[in-house]
């Protein structure tokens, strides 16, 4: 019978996970070229670490001070390099580039060709692929020119990942389109990013509300010496006014809030810096038309809430392989956003709800946002999310509130709601939670709170 070697190491430190197999590999490869006295056999290793630790790639950002405080070992993997150990059956990007020429004969690409397909996870159902054309991206570059008048020396930094349209269209494409630099932040901690603002002279910041909030907390612990920030843009989720004020105090810049969708290649409305209206998402950007309509598609007068429609060259080509969805969403060049809102006398846009989130109960249309705002005014409530649910199909919708807070009881919340809300708006059920599920951009994922939500991260056995 074939004999393999077994090496048991139950007192390992994290470096052994790397060093032991590496040593065996090295000896086996070297053994072929030089005369080795002993030949290494096929080997299995079994290891247990004696202390907590992490084995991380060379590009991972680790707070080593904190790690040593916690008694944790951190070991970095060496860079793979050419010809090094790599996952089987894959191609190395670096080698692919090295082998290829640096001159490229341009392909015939038209402005109407699709440049990117970006998936949005809707409030219900499967994600949809939003087809964005070259024209869409360029229109967005033009549209934001006036809101962020840049100089060639400007340095953008996007804390928003480029897989999100806001990071991609503004933080990357618009920055390069204007000949500015884009400072790349692959992974950030508020502390290290504060240093980066100084070191890299970041002048234009692309971020989301939670990130601004984290930066504020960090700057209180360690004030920065000099800020080069000229423009700070916030999007993807509503920005509390108190964050704008506190940020201005610490960094000397007013955060500009914008509104947009993946379907509009990011921003279509922006709050002008000199005339910010709190609570509003501002005025339409250059090249975007926005109107508010009722259920029959008739435009509504000011201050009346209805569905928000958008027209402009930044509006998507359609949903990939979904002609029916596309027809329902794009009509006569207008994008039906599914967002509910209104415009005031000066044309400022206010977003109140997502159409699909509206709860219909007892013949009333109930805004979950209105209930959430009331809940958040309770001193012990930190965060709240309200959804509608049906006990059974055909039954009427009920209201369920999810609450994050300190020392609370559901009864206490209910008593509070009864005092502050019309009886039909009082939640039928309260659930206390440690945190609310959120997307990469900090939006509460209501669909994960709804009944019957299926977590797609699991791989099910019967899938194939």
């Amino acid at each position: 019978m074939n004999e393999w070697r077994l090496i048991t190491n139950l007192e390992a430190d994290v470096a052994d996970l790397l060093a032991l197999p590496a040593a065996i590999i090295e000896a086996r490869i070297a053994g072929r070229y030089i005369l080795s006295t002993q030949k290494s056999p096929q080997t299995l290793l079994i290891q247990r670490v004696k202390r907590k630790g992490m084995l991380v790639g060379a590009d991972v950002l680790v707070d080593r001070e904190e790690a040593s405080k916690k008694g944790m070992d951190v070991v970095f993997q060496p860079r793979g390099g050419r010809g090094g150990l790599r996952p089987a059956d894959t191609i190395s990007l670096e080698e692919l580039m090295l082998k290829s020429k640096e001159k490229f004969k341009s392909e015939d690409v038209s402005l109407e060709d699709v440049a990117a397909l970006i998936y949005t996870s809707g409030t219900t159902g499967n994600p949809k692929g939003v087809m964005l054309t070259h024209r869409n991206f360029l229109a967005e570059c033009e549209a934001t020119l006036r809101v962020i008048p840049t100089m060639p020396e400007d340095r953008f930094a996007s804390l928003v990942p480029f897989f999100h349209i806001y990071g991609l269209a503004i933080g990357l494409v618009a920055a390069l389109f204007r000949g500015c630099s884009s400072v790349l932040i692959p992974q950030y901690s508020p502390k290290s990013f504060l240093r980066k603002i100084e070191d890299e002279r970041v002048s234009i910041l692309i971020a989301i509300p939670t990130q601004y909030f984290h930066l504020l907390l960090a700057v209180r612990r360690r004030p920065i010496k000099k800020s080069y920030l000229r423009y700070c843009i916030s999007g993807a989720a509503p920005l509390p006014v108190k964050v704008i004020e506190a940020f201005k105090e610490s960094f000397g810049v007013e955060i500009i809030e914008g509104y947009g969708l993946t379907e509009t290649t990011a921003a279509v409305a922006v709050n002008p810096r000199d005339r910010i209206k709190p609570g509003s998402v501002g005025l339409p950007v250059e090249g975007a038309e926005i109107k508010v309509v009722d259920d029959r598609g008739e435009e509504l007068p000011q201050d009346r809430a209805g569905e928000i429609l958008i027209k402009g060259e930044m509006v998507m080509k359609g949903y990939y392989n979904l002609p029916e969805e596309t027809r329902k969403t794009l009509k006569d060049g207008w994008l039906y956003t599914g967002d509910i809102g209104y415009k005031d006398g000066e044309g400022y846009l206010y977003i109140t709800d997502r159409k699909k989130d509206i709860i219909i109960k007892g013949g009333f249309n109930i805004s979950p946002k209105e209930i959430e705002e009331i809940l958040c005014e309770h001193p012990k409530v930190e965060e709240a999310a309200v959804v509608g649910y049906k006990e059974k199909e055909g039954r009427e919708e009920a209201i369920k509130a999810f609450i994050v807070g300190r020392d609370l009881t559901p009864e206490e919340i209910l008593r509070y709601c009864r005092k502050r809300l019309a009886s039909y708006k009082v939640p039928d059920e309260i659930e206390l939670k440690d945190s609310l599920p959120k997307s990469a951009t900090g939006k509460v994922l209501r669909k994960e709170l709804r009944k019957g939500y299926k977590d797609l991260r699991f791989i099910e056995r019967d899938e194939s």
Binding site: L6, G57, R64, A67, V75, M97, P152, I459, E460
Partner: protein
């Protein structure tokens, strides 16, 4: 103008101006344009054509920028998606878009490998970056590794299949009856991951790396030194389970070793003999260890 020509034009206009700043290094428009062209040519050589979809699962790094604009060069469609996506989420996007290639971080390869058989259109996995993350915990994690000749197996699929089957046997032996294995890497109970393994390669050798969770892995300490926004923490890791959660008790190290190694012995028709490092290996080990600790 369109996105295909954008960088070419900028590189002509101001070649020396900085386009990207990454980890303190500046990349000029000219350098960026050249890198993008190289990757575009590389993808073209693989057979990526106008209209083809190329998935991008990368953080904000120069490689993301090269990938996105290389797609534009070719008239291909970039499909960037969330680097925190797991299993079914990735499967849905790759399936729906019909992506021909995916450009991703080396450490995400196991995630893609596991769903690849369901993606007939996906021809190439292109990898970059050094962002692997392995948590080691005295109570929870046990590592089984192997340095094996490729010649033991017919091909990589065979290596994954045989090892996967053996590990399922081993875990069932431990009493974890619900363990199942689909393809390339993850051993699951229900939809959750109990253990994972992957093969890397160098010359004619495979390196097997397997981690199994004996008790729930408490990740708070790990995340306190790797800054991840609190609200997305639970999305960074795949849903995990452990032997203790499934069994109602914690198997001892002896039991674990006996069951898993026994199954591997049976599968490969071999006998394991406890041993230590050879002299050459010990020398290499000291060197490797010094290197690992130096950083």
């Amino acid at each position: 103008m369109n996105l295909s020509r954008l960088l070419e034009e900028k590189a002509e206009e101001y070649p020396k101006r900085t386009a990207l700043v990454y980890e303190g290094k500046n990349i000029t428009f000219q350098e960026l344009n050249r890198s993008v062209n190289r990757l575009a040519n590389g993808l073209k050589n693989l057979g990526i054509e106008k209209g083809d979809r190329v998935a991008i699962m990368l953080p904000n790094s120069p490689e993301f920028v090269y990938s996105f604009f290389a797609c534009q060069r070719l008239g291909a469609v970039a499909v960037p998606f969330n680097t925190m996506y797991k299993g079914g989420e990735i499967l849905y996007i790759l399936k729906d878009s019909g992506a021909k290639a995916i450009i991703t971080l080396t450490n995400f390869v196991p995630l893609i490998n596991e769903i690849k058989p369901e993606l007939p259109n996906l021809k190439y996995i292109i990898t970059t970056g050094e962002r692997s993350l392995t948590f080691a915990d005295p109570d929870s994690t046990r590592f089984v590794q192997g340095v094996l000749s490729k010649s033991i197996f017919k091909d990589l699929d065979d290596a994954y299949r045989k090892t996967g089957e053996a590990l399922v046997q081993g875990f069932q032996e431990l009493g974890l009856k619900g363990t199942w294995y689909k393809h390339r890497g993850s051993l699951r109970i229900g939809g959750k991951k109990l253990a994972g393994f992957y093969f890397s390669e160098i010359e004619d050798l495979y390196l097997l790396n397997m981690v199994c969770f004996l008790v729930p892995l408490h990740t708070e300490d790990f995340f306190s030194v790797l800054w991840v926004p609190p609200e997305v923490k639970d999305k960074v890791l795949e849903p995990l389970t452990s032997a203790e959660e499934e069994l109602g008790r914690r198997p001892s190290d002896e039991e674990f070793k006996k069951a898993v190694l026994g199954a591997l012995e049976k599968q490969f028709g071999i006998q394991l003999k406890e041993g230590g490092l050879t002299r050459d290996e010990r020398f290499g080990y000291e060197k490797q260890k010094t290197l690992a600790k130096k950083r």
